[in-house]
């Protein structure tokens, strides 16, 4: 039996979860923009804006301590970072392009060896996805095999209803548990109609044809043409729900400090620079090419998935106006 929840009760649900000591993260106003951020109460939840940054920080923080060190007379003492401090979290109002990012990242963080930090956050987070009823001209989730109503990555998926409120559908045990625990805030669906899902103007794309072209066009004038204006600022990577390149750096003093994982980007000039000064990706077109290749062919080869959820943030926010959708359309047309 499908359950529904009113907007008022959804906000009360947040209050109830917060009272249980859970950390609640959701879209929240921050001055003129919306960001995924910790919510103090249900009233702070913003339901009609796609946050400027993706939700990946919930699982993969911009900067995270992996160990601390302290030097003494007896040598160096290294203390393992405390994963148990990672709080039980509810990510609420995650757009399909954001909720879908986490399972895509599972592939890289849990192949061969497990990244305990990412996986602990995944384990302790319940995701309440939210269908989109509105898309802007940058949205292209439909082009990468998702949709504005795709529950991928969501434990519980909310679909806005005509006349207000949401249909709630559980997609995992965590989702079921949440529905059972808070049954008092729910109602049983009684023929309510869902609001029509958004329709991104991009439509679908032939990802196989794009991959086939990429696999045979490592050298192509297109790369110079597109990336000539790329400033290498890394905005696209930092806003992306699935870009996961990171650096490992020590921060602190001579005596004590911490080693941290922090976001990095393949668009940065020194990302691949050798100690000798030699750089395999010496110029921006080579770096931009790696970004596109990683997303649409290398990740496919390695993990059978596309490293893109079509959120549109990279084109919406690129200071040089580089449009990944245009790039893919151009590749599709050539292939």
């Amino acid at each position: 039996m499908t359950k529904t929840i009113s907007e008022k009760n959804l906000r009360l649900l947040i209050d109830a979860l917060a009272r249980q000591g859970k950390r609640i993260v959701g879209p929240k106003s921050d001055g003129p923009i919306t960001l995924y951020a910790p919510l103090a109460d249900g009233e702070e939840l913003v339901l009609d804006e796609q946050p400027r940054r993706s939700a990946k920080e919930t699982f993969f923080p911009l900067c995270e301590t992996i160990l601390t060190y302290e030097k003494g007379k007896e040598g160096v003492t290294v203390t393992n970072a405390d994963c148990s401090r990672i709080p039980e979290t509810v990510l609420i109002g995650a757009r399909p392009c954001d909720a879908a990012g986490a399972p895509v990242l599972d592939a890289v963080f849990a192949w061969d060896t497990n990244d305990p930090f990412f996986l602990e956050r995944r384990k302790k987070t319940t995701v309440l996805g939210l269908a989109c009823t509105r898309a802007d001209e940058a949205c292209f989730c439909t082009a990468v095999g998702l949709s504005p109503a795709d529950p991928k990555g969501a434990d519980l998926f909310l679909t806005p209803l005509v006349g207000g409120g949401f249909a709630c559908e559980a997609h995992s045990e965590k989702g079921e548990t949440l529905l059972e625990t808070h049954a008092g805030l729910l109602a049983t669906a009684d023929g309510e109609k869902s609001l029509p899902a958004a329709e991104p103007t991009v439509g679908t794309m032939n990802l196989e044809a794009i991959k086939a072209w990429l696999d045979t066009h490592f050298e192509d004038p297109l790369w110079d043409e597109i990336a000539a204006r790329c400033a290498g600022c890394g905005t696209c990577a930092f806003l992306c729900p699935v870009c996961h390149c990171f650096d490992i750096v020590d921060e602190g003093g001579e005596i004590r400090g911490a080693r941290r994982k922090s976001w990095d980007a393949c668009g940065f000039g020194k990302f691949t620079q050798h100690a000798s000064g030699h750089n395999p990706r010496d110029i921006q077109p080579q770096r931009f090419r790696n970004r596109v290749m990683h997303k649409f062919t290398y990740y496919q080869d390695k993990f059978g998935q596309t490293l893109c959820t079509g959120c549109g943030r990279c084109l919406r926010n690129c200071p040089a106006g580089i449009d990944l959708v245009e790039v893919l359309e151009q590749i599709q047309a050539e292939g």
């Binding site: 992996i66 160990l67 060190y69 030097k71 040598g75 160096v76 290294v78 393992n80 970072a81 405390d82 994963c83 148990s84 890289v108 963080f109 192949w111 061969d112 060896t113 497990n114 990244d115 305990p116 930090f117 602990e120 490592f218 996961h244 390149c245 990171f246 650096d247 490992i248 750096v249 020590d250 602190g252 003093g253 001579e254 400090g257 080693r259 994982k261 990095d264 393949c266 990302f271 691949t272 620079q273 050798h274 100690a275 000798s276 030699h278 395999p280 990706r281 080579q286 790696n290 290749m293 990683h294 062919t297 290398y298 080869d301 390695k302």
Partner: protein, 281 residues
């Protein structure tokens, strides 16, 4: 706590037992693991690498330069050129460093049994082959002829000078050492010339032989055609790719050449494998 055994980024601690100043800016460190269990159980294969850290400065990637046939310690060799290597270079005997590893694949030494070996190295790229050289010399009877061609810009830039002398004096090793023109001192008893040319002149036979090549990209570029002229096939030539790395675990996204992760699929590749990659290294 995150279970310590599960934090893949946590290094073992090791004490610097000995420091060898190889050149004015290149050092070797001999390291002993502080934890007794690690000391006893740490095993690796020739060609594998590790992440070495100076706490407060960070981690750097170098090969394990000592051979797996010598137990109880490992060695690394690096040039002080950046924040981490300068910090590692300023440490003293008795100081602590971090070591994560071993990572990556290795030279298939067992496949080389019964064959002749030709090592070709330039500059600071001898350490990744030195581990193999000693590994093979420690099992000397399993291999045929062993030829080592090693060059650097000047006599002073050669690393492992004591060992070069040892190899030179051994009757079961043919060492051809060279420096670039003008790099020789009054006592220089080796060749003068660029490694690929000197290799061509030394002309080791390709029959039943594998070649192992490490050096700066420009040296490798000119060495491969020389080996081809001598009759080596691309499957009989091994090299290592020395891409910049951070995690060493196939996650941080830095070391890839096309869809190949150097840290997981490498760092050891045959020339045939390297030629099949996008030429971006």
């Amino acid at each position: 706590m995150c279970e310590a055994s599960k934090n893949i980024y946590l290094p073992h601690l090791a004490t610097i037992e000995e420091i060898i100043q190889e050149t004015h800016d290149i050092r070797s460190l001999k390291l002993i693991f502080q934890d007794e269990q690690v000391r006893e159980n740490f095993t690796f294969r020739a060609g594998q690498f590790a992440e070495y850290s100076a706490f407060g400065a960070g981690e750097s990637t170098f090969c394990i330069a000592s051979p797996p046939t010598r137990k109880g310690y490992i060695e690394c060799c690096f040039r002080a050129v950046g924040r981490v290597t300068e910090a590692l270079g300023s440490l003293e005997v008795g100081d602590t460093v971090g070591v994560r590893g071993p990572y990556g694949n290795a030279f298939p030494i067992e496949e080389f049994f019964g064959k002749n070996l030709v090592f070709v190295a330039g500059g600071i790229a001898l350490p990744p082959l030195r581990t193999v050289i000693w590994n093979c010399l420690d099992l000397r009877e399993k291999f045929g002829d062993i030829t080592i061609v090693y060059g650097a810009r000047t006599e002073n830039d050669l690393v492992y000078k004591r060992e070069l002398k040892e190899w030179q004096e051994r009757s079961d090793v043919r060492l051809v050492k060279t420096v670039d023109p003008g790099g020789d001192g009054p006592d220089w008893d080796g060749q003068v010339g660029f490694v690929p040319n000197v290799l061509g002149e030394a002309a080791p036979s390709a029959a039943n032989t594998v070649a192992l090549v490490c050096g700066p990209p420009i040296m490798i570029k000119f060495t491969l055609p020389e080996l081809e002229k001598l009759g080596f096939t691309d499957n009989a030539i091994y090299t290592t790719l020395e891409n910049r790395m951070k995690c060493g675990l196939g996650k941080c996204g830095r070391c890839n050449v096309g869809n190949v992760y150097v840290c997981k699929d490498g760092p050891v590749f045959t020339a045939a494998q390297v030629k099949a990659m996008p030429q971006e290294f």
